[in-house]
Structures are given as C-alpha cells and as structure tokens.
Amino acid sequence: MSVIEKEQEVVENLVDLLSEEQVNTNNEDLYEASVDRYKKYAFARNALDVPQPVAIVYPNSSDEVSKLLQFCNEERINVIPRSGDTSTEGGLENWKDITVIIDAENLNRIVDIDTYNMQATVQAGVPLEELEDELREKGFTTGHSPQSKPVAKMGGLVATRSIGQLSTLYGGIEDMVIGLECVFPDGHISKIKNVPRRAGGPDIRHIAIGNEGTLCYITEVTVKIFKHYPENNKFYGYLTEDIETGIKVLREVMVNGYRPSVARAYSEEDAKQHFYHFSKDKCVLILMAEGPENIVEATGEAVEEAVDKFSDGIIEEVDSELIENWFNNLNWSQQDIEDEYEGMKENDSHAGFTTEISADWGTIPIIYNNVMERIKNEFPRAHELTLLGGHSSHSYINGTNLYFVYNYEINCAPEDELRVYHHPIHKIIVEETLKHGGSMCHHHGIGKYRSQWTKEEHGSAYYMLEKLKEVFDPNGIMNYGSIYPKEDGIKKYIKKEE
C-alpha cells in the first residue's frame, strides 16, 4: 500500500470512529500542524522540511480519545497530542509520514469551580485565560500566568510542565495540579482523584504532568485556585551594575523565606529590549509583592532590605509605575504571534530565540559567564548576533532559572537557519549547563530539539523514564521523537545528515 493510500485509509477510519466534522484534512491547517513555534521562521517563509500530519481530529470526550488511541496503537500510527499550540521546542513537530494530531479543541468545558475547596476542574482544551477570567470575576486566580496565557490551553500547560510569570509565589503547574484524567495508548482511562495530599505510593500525577504527549493524553485537570488581591500589588524596580547583583538580591529575598510573585534579574542587553524606556543600558531587577496586605508589606520590606544589603551594585530605583505598566502588558496575544510571523516574512532576522535552564544559586553565575564567553569566542556567526543576554525569572529556595536570549541577522536560506544559528548557540548553553550539574530545560520541555541530551540530563535516572515509555507506550506511537531520543529523526531533521 502506498503512503497516499495509507493516508486515505487512516482518514476514512478516523471519520468512522468520530464524524466527518471532527476530522480536519484542510491543507493549510495540516501545514500549520506540522510544526510548533520552534520552526516559526521556516514556517513563515514556507520552507518547512517535515511531513504534514494526515489529519487533525477533535474528540468530544475521553471515550473518543480512548477509541482514537486504541485505533492508532493497533495500526502503529504516530499520535501528537495538542492543546493550545504554543510549544517552543518542537514538541508538536511531526517527524513521521503517518501522524494524527489529536486536538483538545472540543474538550472545552469548565467542569467545576469550587471556591470552598479552592479547586477548579476543566477539560484539557479550556483556554487558561477563559478559566482565569471566570475566576477573576469571583475574586480568585489560578496563579498561573505564562506569557502565552491568551492562547495556551490547560491540557498543554500540564503536559509540558508549564510555568507562569508569578511562579515564585504560586509555583509551577506541577504545584497546582491536584488531580487529572488521562488516556493511555491502549485506551485505558485513568482518573487521579482530587485530594489535598496522600501517601499512596509514588505520586502518579507526575507520570502525566510533563509527559509532553509521549505517554498519555491528558483530558481533564483539577487545579488549585487562590484568592486574588490585585489592589495590594506592589512593584519594585532597580537598575543594577550587573546581573550578578540582581541574582544576589533575588537569592537574599528567597532564602529569607519571602515569596515575591515576580522576581527577575536582567542582563543589560536583555533589559534594553524590554525596558528601553528606562534601563539606560544597565541591568534591571524587578520584583512584585502580591497577596494579603500584611504579606505584601512584609515581602516589600524584605525586598528593600535585600536591596540595601547589596546597595553597592544598585545604581538607582525605578519608578514603580513603570514596572506596573510593564506587568500589565506582559503577555502575547494571537495578534502578536501573527504580527511576528509577518515580520519574519519581511526581514531576514530572528528576534527572541531563547533557551532556558536552571541551576543552584552558586552555579548559575558560572553557567551564565561561561556561556557568554563561549558564544562570543566559538560561535562562528557571532558577528551577526544583534542581541545576546539573559535573565532570571523564576526563583526557588535553592536556585533559579536563566533564560538565555539571542537575536540574530539571517544570511542563510530559511531552512538552514536553525542549524546555522540557533543550534550551535543552543548546544553551548546545554553543554555548559549539564557540565555544571544544572538542568537544560527549566520550563519549555525537552520537545524534539533537546532530546539529544535527555539521557545526559537524567543520568542514571533515565532508566526510570525509559521504563515508563516501555510500559505505557510499548509500540512507541506517542509523539515520536519527543523527550525520548530517536536517532533517525535527529539525523534527518536536526543534523540534516540525510
């Protein structure tokens, strides 16, 4: 049977399983579904090198997801679970000739908002912003606010271990998920119940949270909700001599036991692109205190004390209204994404590529300085970098993350952009991070483009990850190439050796 015949047969079977309206074979939509934001430049230039999926399907229930997965499992058809489409590391990119995208668009119901028990249950396709808006009307919040909030959906956020800009107070999505429902390739539906805590063996939520569609399909999640006190918000901004000063202040606040919701330290280069109107080419430190009034007061005092302690590196305070204004315009909308694509069609440049890592407080400055040094000295196209910098934006008691940010002019064909520019930089960042014991993937996931280093990331614990795949997806139908390294895909689509 030819590939085309096989594709037709798969589509017919999908229609039989669901309905014609639930099976999308529109060519433009399939082109869009071949990749995620990782290949946004090649996508904008119509230069994609990966196969299109056969169809995008929209199940209406967990039972339909179960039927679909059973079918694909029996037929050995690659499945890419999708909910939101804001992934950035190739997690939604297709590497197989026959692939079905299962999109959670129709799983769009807010099941329950329980303000007494402080939890909300939603189906996977509910947009985060929709849930957040509902909660805000009642005086609550999810506490989850990734930059992609206007377009991200709950299932995708949980499947990728998403983090929000207020994570230092509220935690990452893994700290918010109480229970969930997910479907495995053999069609089994598991529902993990909603309890405050339990000691019932290993915490099985974490098999689904962050699985990036490689083990199961998340259909429903229950998350914590929090009281919202926007009227108490306090904003703090400072210009600092260097990013190390900013990181020292963040550490001081954290280790003293305080939890600002926003806690960010920017290098001067990165600060310039976000805060050109006040950064004066200096590094920028930003904090925000949020919550009940007395907690905000105490957190604010702790911020000021920490700033005092490191006053040698503080140049000046920034008007808090400027920080508040920045905070109110943080997220990108669908319009921003479309504008970005238009810009990439017109200009031979790529702005805003990022690689995010994490490490303990002592290691972070070492990684930052080594990466900067190596990129400047080893990257053969360093003369085309128009920005190289970074920031820390999520802090913990024992360390923080670093977002390396780089923009560059592009002088090669769109299909070569990643291997000429991004991959060599990305490689330096990952190598330096792993060499010093950090994590190469703070919150964007591994996707397909960091799978080369998954084994190194996990070391001897990779055994556990590997066994999960063997048990839950023995036929390897779930999101081929994501998290688990696949040599053929790496050669063909990353190294382009074929």
């Binding site: 080419d281 209204e321 109110n328 053969p380 128009t386 002088n411 090669c412 064909a413 070569d416």
Partner: protein, 264 residues
C-alpha cells in the same frame, strides 16, 4: 567582464544611543552593517554573475580590520575577490581624503565599471562616488533604481535613475561609476549552508599605506581638507516622558498624539 563593488560598513544607526547627561553619541557596541545602498550594488552584481558566470566581482572597502567577517560573507556569496583597505594612518579621513585613498588603489586596477551605493547611512553626504569619478576621470551617476539586465555588458548599460518625481532612462558608457539606491529591490542572495564556514582567506587582501605609499599629508586628519568649525550634537532634549495606561483613556491619548503628528 570585471566589476568592482565599492562598499562601506556603517554603524547600524538603530544601535546608536544618546547620553543625555554628557550630550554625546554612544557608539560602543554598535553593530556594523553593510550600507544598504552598497548592498544593492553587490546584489545586482551577483545577479548579473548568475546570468554571466564569467563576470568577475571584486569588493573593495575601506575601514577597520573588524569588517573582515562581513567581507568574508560576501566572498561566500560568490564574490570573486575582496580587498580591505585598512591602516591607522587613514583614520579621520574626510570624504575627500577617502576618495583619494580609494582612487590610488583603483587607478592601478582594470575594470569595466564600478558599482556602489548613492550614499551611506552614517555620513549621508554622497560625496565619495562623485569625487572618485573626478579623480579617476570617470562618468558617475547616482540614484540608480534599476539596470536593464540585457543591456549590461562591457561597453555600456541602460539604467533608470530617480530624479525628483521623475524616473529618467540613460545609457551609460563604460568605464563608469554607477551608484545604486537601496530601493532597487536587489537583495543579496543567501549563503549556501555548505559555504557558511568556507575558508575564503585566499580571496581576501588587506592593503595598507605601505602598499599605497600615500603621503601622510594627503591622508587621515592631516589630509582632510574639511575644516570643522564646530561640532555639536543635535540638541536632543529629553522629552517629557508621558506614561499612559493600557485603557481607553491611554488609547485615546496615543491616538490623538499620532493624529496630531500626522501618522494616522
């Protein structure tokens, strides 16, 4: 056929910052870019070479040695040869001294025509092409917006030139200096992946005053006839900063502002 493309690497004006306290331009960390008008000239030459593979292109630039990686990228795009004229003795040269330095190199070279930009982003004087024409006794034409590909040969070319609100058509006899505008729409081709790190050092020459042997009185600050009576930065007074919120009132304010300035 042999073309010499005269190019200049200029600071990306978007990177230049202004120190309001000291009232000076800050040029630190400013990225260099190929002057857009000059890029159009190289782009046209490469396009012509596609049609006529025997055509030979030499890129000539004067500037600091740090332009090397940018020049190497032009060689990786199929330019045959590049020459960088660089010497601390040339620093501070005005457009006249610069033209003399370039002319001293060019007068020894064989070529059918010199293609370049009409003006540079940084100086904006448009002196150099015309001065070179004078020094080399060549005809020179600025503001070229297109060249008829079929007519482009060793003897002449039919060109279109923007002149006010009109477009004029000329036939230029060679040798001559043709100065392009970036609006030609000619774009540099991409570098092929396999050529991104190609060693092109054998096609790159550095020329200093040791080779040109120009009298020190002719070059650099000494040789620059331009006498600067006074320099001052355009007085960029820091405008009153008005921060508006992302609400109806803020949107109204921004809209009225843009309307007042004639943008909407």
């Amino acid at each position: 056929m042999k073309i010499i493309c005269l190019v200049k690497y200029v600071p990306n004006v978007e990177d230049i910052k202004y120190d309001y306290e000291e009232n000076v331009l800050i040029r630190d960390n400013v990225k260099l870019i190929l002057n857009p008008d000059d890029a159009a000239a190289v782009a046209y030459s490469l396009k012509a070479k596609e049609v006529n593979p025997d055509l030979s292109i030499e890129v000539l630039t004067m500037g600091p040695k740090s332009v090397r990686p940018f020049v190497e990228d032009l060689l990786r795009r199929n330019v045959n040869k590049a020459t960088i004229i660089s010497d601390p003795a040339f620093a501070g040269s005005d457009t006249y001294a610069t033209s003399k330095i370039l002319a001293s190199y060019l007068k020894e070279k064989e070529y059918d025509c010199i293609l370049t930009g009409s003006k540079s982003l940084d100086g904006d004087t448009a002196h150099v092409p015309a001065q070179l024409g004078e020094l080399l006794s060549l005809n020179q034409m600025s503001n070229i917006i297109s060249i008829d590909q079929d007519s482009f040969n060793e003897k002449s070319a039919i060109i279109e030139v923007e002149s006010g609100d009109k477009t004029l058509t000329y036939r230029m006899s060679f040798p001559a200096i043709l100065s392009f505008r970036k609006e030609t729409g000619y774009e540099l081709p991409y570098i092929k992946y396999e050529n991104m790190s190609l060693d092109v050092s054998d096609k790159l020459n550095f020329i200093s005053n040791e080779e040109l042997q120009l009298d020190e009185d002719m070059i650099g600050l000494k040789g620059s006839l331009t006498r600067v009576a006074n320099t001052y930065n355009k007085n960029f007074k820091e405008k009153n900063k008005i921060v508006v919120k992302n609400d109806d009132q803020g949107i109204d304010y921004v809209y009225s502002f843009l309307k007042k300035k004639g943008f909407v």
